[in-house]
């Protein structure tokens, strides 16, 4: 096995990860663009209209994948933060730092598209039910993780503080997911779940899953790009970092 012979730990050093990430970004970005293109096409032109909502239901092709990614990315960020604390590993903290803005973006997207859909469907932009409120708290958690990091000057302390904050916030993720089952909410229950058959037509489901994969690939591409920035920023005082920052600057101009 060729894979087994690669020393994967080599890539946990920023110097080795930096060029690897650079080579992977175009691939993930291309796949993301293709999947999102195909997903939107199926969602808007192939999928049938809904028997109750007509066309307005088509927001789910953005809303549901964005909401899934917002929760998934938070868990991934918390895992990296936990690994960073446990292993005392700087690259893990960097990964957590690189994921946060993308997670916040998807949370905002889920809330925004939900409001757009809620007005025509429910008759209200926003209601304080358990699902909507816990998703809003998720946005604040992402903001808290990012703000805590920038508010502490010493990078080691900033890493540890924001990692602890990220880990504490992870309790909110199951609350978001199960809120529609635990309490009466205006938000409908899950149409797609691990345990039951999907409650939607197959084409609709396909479009939604393709969009989710696309958002996932986009998240990887953007996180890798941000990871490169974080590495350069943190290694700028080392001779390796100075060399690369300089080269980037030359390439840009």
């Amino acid at each position: 096995m060729a894979l087994a012979q690669i020393n994967w730990f080599k890539y946990s050093s920023p110097q080795a990860f930096y060029p690897l990430a650079g080579r992977m970004i175009p691939w993930f970005a291309t796949i993301a663009a293709l999947l999102i293109g195909v997903g939107l096409y199926i969602g808007f032109f192939v999928a049938p209209t809904d028997f109750q909502q007509g066309q307005s239901y088509r927001i789910i092709f953005v809303h549901v994948p964005a909401a899934w990614m917002s929760m998934f990315l938070y868990v991934v960020m918390a895992i990296w933060a936990g690994l960073g604390l446990g292993l005392n590993a700087r690259p893990s903290f960097m990964m957590a730092q690189a994921i946060a803005p993308t997670g916040a973006l998807f949370t905002f997207l889920a809330l925004f598209t939900g409001a757009m859909w809620g007005k025509p469907t429910w008759g209200a932009w926003w209601v304080w039910d358990a699902r909507l409120t816990s998703e809003l708290i998720l946005l604040f958690l992402y903001a808290g993780v990012m703000l805590l990091r920038t508010s502490i000057d010493d990078p080691r302390r900033a890493d540890r503080a924001s990692a602890v904050f990220a880990l504490v916030g992870v309790v909110n993720v199951p609350i978001i997911y199960f809120s529609v089952r635990w309490w009466n909410t205006l938000h409908q229950g899950a149409s797609v779940s691990m345990t039951a058959a999907p409650k939607m037509a197959a084409t609709m489901l396909t479009a939604m899953l393709v969009m989710t994969l696309g958002f996932w690939m986009y998240s990887i591409a953007v996180t890798l790009a941000r990871m490169r920035c974080v590495i350069l920023e943190r290694e700028r005082r080392s001779s390796w970092g100075m060399h690369h920052s300089h080269r980037e600057a030359v390439e840009v101009h």
Partner: protein
């Protein structure tokens, strides 16, 4: 134990403690986190009396009537166990339909009628093309195809 393993154990214990704390807090706030009350809870007197609250359930088929002014509507909200008559003056959301979910905010009158100040449509989790919905409706002409988050299932 190596310091590294010790740290992971501590993180794990911290998360467990946090989960337990969150579960206890949520359990304590259970009743305050409820967005609406069901007609059964209304019938059992489990609802606030002096302030406004929300009730939710299915709009009973055939119960929607409109008064002469064209704005005041009467309908019955049910969870298939109990029924609550609702009066509302205003514009209903587009998706408000008989046999579908709705949530109304307002106060319970002395005669047991719920005087709503706001009515929201509660959409269910089923998505399908109109043809499939018609086929489904024909198949179970009598049975109410409903959201499982609204109806109390027989145990």
């Amino acid at each position: 134990m190596k310091p590294r393993q010790k740290r992971f154990v501590l993180i794990g214990l911290g998360l467990v403690a946090l989960a337990v704390a969150a579960a206890l807090v949520l359990n304590a706030f259970q009743s305050n986190l409820v967005f609406f009350f069901t007609p059964t809870q209304v019938a059992n007197g489990e609802v606030p009396h002096s302030r406004s609250f929300r009730i939710g359930g299915m709009v009973e088929t055939g119960s929607l009537t409109r008064e002469g002014d064209g704005l005041t509507v009467h309908f019955i909200v049910t969870d298939m166990a109990k029924r609550v008559p609702v009066t509302f003056k205003g514009i209903l959301p587009d998706l408000f339909k008989e046999g579908k979910g709705a949530v109304a905010q307002g106060q319970l009158g002395a005669d047991g009628t719920f005087l709503a100040s706001e009515v929201l449509a509660k959409h269910d989790e089923n998505y399908m093309p109109p043809e499939a919905a018609e086929a489904l409706a024909r198949a179970k002409a009598a049975g109410a195809q409903s959201s499982n988050t609204l109806v109390i299932k027989p145990q």
